[in-house]
Symmetry: C2
Subunit: 560 residues, 2 copies
């Protein structure tokens, strides 16, 4: 026993030493370039500005637009294993009028179909059929983005995220008649209504179902787009619905679940927004919230909660941290709002400190082991190469920001550092035999690595084309799981000059969701794996997820 304890102690000791070396990172490129003074100067500015950033976020609070939408029909959900998405199909069961002004009793239920996905407040009226209703009406509501949510039971859910995200309510209504607006917001196309309890002798009925939609997207400002074909029209429409329903008082990741601002998700939403609804203030507010809730070390929030007041979420993702500068650059280029970009500049520079900490003096990113590296919801993915590329991507964005803001002298170290990191990538992560980038000790081949390396401009144009062509043929490559990474594949194909290939890839992947009945694009989608979930529970997946809305970005940006 004693020996075993001692050996455990030794292991712990070694791990501690390794961790300390990791945290101190005395051999990081940041130290080699002696950047401490630069980052300290930015930290001072961040501390001076943090409060005003939150004030500016508040000032940019968007007005939410409302529309009243009525359900289009009553549907039933029927088991359709192996054919319909997740084994459920909806079948029209009647007109909405068939459930209005009719007596209902405990156990009765029906499903409203609103015909499309909406984010908003569900409203309905209760009426008495003959005599006044003499007991409260107890109702259950289940809101579904996809048929499975109103088909399968929530009772067996045992995923890794809280069951509280599943959109159901038990509501007791004391007074009949009355119009009821459920106070919580839901994201849904389908609403299953079930009568749990009601007066034994006095019948009540329903009327006037509707959703009061909520979005900070303004349809009047939507830029025109002429699709070349029906599929393009569909891809654009579903993208817009997805984006619209995630545009609230920040860019939310998904209006059903999380319902909050994530930096990496914001970047893609903002890109789609610039070519569609052009709500620059919403991007500005979102950036200011992430900036204003940066921690005392100056690290931007990976995600932030808005209410009751903006606060930093507990998670930090290294690649999201790196993507702050690119997101700010996109905003500046789209809006030409130099004031905001100047204001947030110190934070963009400061983020480099956190990512460069883990780039060694040879210019190679080494996974520190104590960071959440995201890239994609794929636990098998080795993320070294992608992170390495994203850091280069970030450095280049800061450099470009410096040019636009006339601050090049502040980041004069970047070109040499980019060059060093590119060399390190080619030396360590490029397999010239395969014509592909590899990642990690096991030299893993993935779509993620190729895409990010191409987007980071590590390669020549020729190499970029080569690796994007090679990865297609490399059947053992780790493939993307989320539309978030699929986006970067399409972007990389575009970057590599494969316009047609990119469009075909997009048509194929996002088009498949449409073929499966998607009204909005899903958080996670791997064709043929309908029940795949990063949370071990497909019911908890978000089926209107903003990082999936970028077909509209590609269609409207790359028109030829």
């Amino acid at each position: 026993m004693i020996k075993k304890q001692n050996s455990i102690k030794l292991v712990v000791y070694i791990i501690c030493i390794l961790n300390v070396s990791c945290l101190v990172a005395s051999n990081s490129i940041k130290n080699a370039y002696e950047l401490d003074d630069i980052f300290s100067a930015q930290m001072e500015l961040i501390d001076q500005r943090r409060v005003s950033w939150l004030e500016k976020a508040e000032q940019a609070m968007p007005e939410l637009n409302h529309k009243i939408i009525k359900p289009v029909s009553i549907v039933s959900v029927e088991k359709d294993t192996g054919k319909s998405f997740q084994g459920w199909k909806t079948v029209k069961a009647g007109e909405v009028s068939s459930v209005c002004n009719k007596p209902f009793a405990p156990g009765d239920s029906f499903i409203l179909d609103f015909g499309d996905h909406y984010t908003g407040n569900f409203c309905f009226s209760l009426c008495s059929i003959d005599n006044p209703v003499d007991a409260p009406v107890r109702l259950e509501f289940i809101f579904g983005e996809v048929p499975a949510e109103v088909g399968d039971s929530f009772d067996t859910y045992c995923g890794s995220l809280s069951r509280s995200w599943l959109q159901d309510e038990i509501v007791n209504i004391d007074v009949v008649p009355q119009t009821v607006k459920l106070p919580r917001r839901y994201a849904f196309r389908y609403v299953k209504v079930r009568v749990v309890a009601s007066s034994v002798s006095r019948k009540f009925g329903f009327t006037d179902f509707e959703v009061e939609t909520l979005t900070s997207a303004n349809e009047d400002k939507l830029l025109p787009f002429t699709p070349k074909n029906e599929r393009q029209a569909e891809l654009d429409r579903v993208s817009l619905t997805t984006l619209r329903d995630c545009m609230q008082t920040v860019f939310e990741d998904g209006p059903k679940r999380d319902r909050r601002l994530w930096l990496g998700d914001l970047r893609l939403q903002a890109q789609a927004n610039y070519v569609t609804y052009q709500n620059y203030d919403l991007v500005k507010r979102s950036l200011y919230i992430l900036a204003g809730t940066s921690d005392k070390k100056g690290m931007v929030s990976t995600c932030a909660f808005e209410y009751p007041k903006p606060v930093r979420g507990g998670d930090s993702i290294l690649d999201y941290t790196a993507l702050f500068a690119p997101t700010l650059l996109d905003y500046l280029e789209a809006s030409n709002d130099k004031e905001t970009a100047n204001d947030l500049w110190p934070l963009a520079v400061k983020q480099l400190e956190f990512v460069l900490e883990h780039v060694n003096s040879d210019g190679l990113f080494i996974d520190p082991g104590n960071w959440w590296l995201f890239i994609d919801w794929n636990n098998d993915l080795d993320k070294q190469a992608s992170e390495h590329a994203i850091i280069i991507y970030s450095l280049k964005a800061v450099c470009r920001l410096a040019e636009l803001l006339d601050k090049k002298e502040q980041v004069s170290f970047i070109p040499a550092m980019v060059s060093s990191m590119k060399s390190a990538a080619i030396s360590n992560l490029w397999d010239s035999n395969l014509g592909l980038f590899v990642s990690g000790a096991n030299r893993q081949i993935s779509w993620a690595s190729q895409s990010w390396m191409v987007l980071a401009g590590v390669t020549s144009s020729e190499q970029a084309r080569m690796c994007m062509a090679n990865i297609e043929k490399y059947t053992d490559a780790q493939k993307p799981v989320t539309p978030y990474l699929h986006h970067h594949v399409v972007a990389a194909l575009m970057e590599a000059g494969y316009h047609e290939k990119a469009m075909a890839y997009m048509n194929n992947y996002w088009g498949k969701m449409i073929d499966l009945g998607a009204d909005t694009f899903w958080e996670v989608f791997v064709p043929g794996q309908d029940f795949l979930s990063p949370y071990n529970g497909y019911l908890i997946n978000s089926y209107c997820h903003a990082w999936s809305c970028t077909p509209t970005y590609f269609l409207r940006t790359y028109k030829n």
Copy 2:
């Protein structure tokens, strides 16, 4: 088959004839006295005034008083079969602080004890313990007036009233921290809180539990009372709590269940109110609502719903209809508000039409079979004698109202009619051998019949004393089930001059509830029958029921 059908037809035919004769009641005392013109004249006035009555009800809308009450402890409920009321006792399990600012997880639960019964809104705050809470918090609340409601499961409830009256809620709270005020009103002493679901990794906690009480009783106006002993003090205190918690924007029957204005219940509440909180406007409003929602035949509402706008309930109770005039008379005598009494006079007179319809030309009440006769929650009780007495009681009240309002000439028929009905009672319903009133074809003996006959003054003082003494000895008599009828027994004992007996009866019956832990008096109580329920489900019984609040009336009215 044909023969059988024919015989059924014959039976139906006979029943129809009987019913028609019943409905036409050509032999009713009303016709004998040729009262049609009188009732027509009143009907005209009712139709003219009905709208203004509802306006006056609105004008008398009381202000609700609030108090913030904090829970006094955390309790557990423990099985205590055969000893504690309904087999459940509460045991202090800790201070309220023991559940505040501590992390909670799904499945955790505790019971708050507010130390007394309150009607109001339940409030609490949620806080995050360390990191921001990243998922909605799903909570279950069960509100209990008595320990059984937080001890037994609601799931097996199968009573005859809707399960929706059971006070439980499932609530989803999106934002933490925040203070939550549940929008529905509850009546409770105990609150069971259970965490259904919450963030898997981020802990939340509770703080600041409280109830914001609601009552139109004003403690500042409470008349003083000096109890003679501890039991009197207890009876008065529990009566006051019961009355207070039922005094809302009308006199509700029970703040947990029904939550509405019933005429018969109002009468007793008003009597208790006149000697305690003296909220005359609340009686006025209640009377005007019942009057303003009278039906097109001029029948006052037996019960009325207040919201969204006052409306007549579907039920009509004959004895309650008869009790409108006595209730108005009590109000006039207590408040001296002749304006209201004059205004409602036509309705008081008009109610006689509906009750006299069923009094035959010999002056005897005959159960028409198509009315709800209440008297008490006792299905075995024959109600003829009680109803007969209540009609006399009503006639006398109209007569007394006429005197006070100087309208005797309008109801000059009453004295002779009272005399005729008294004679009919003595001839048909008095058993001189037993010295007791009997009721119905089976000559049933009950406490109800004796009490109401005495209250109606059918007997001489001597006879009254005799029958109240005899009923005590008649062990097979139908006994009261509800405090509503027990009230009338006590009142009859007082009327018969048995002051001490009346007080002892009251101490014994209501005192037993106190001994069993009642914070407020119960809707139904038969000693030894803890689970008795008119609705086949003790969990649905109201345990703060206004018709049970009258010990304070007796204590304060009969001081010597």
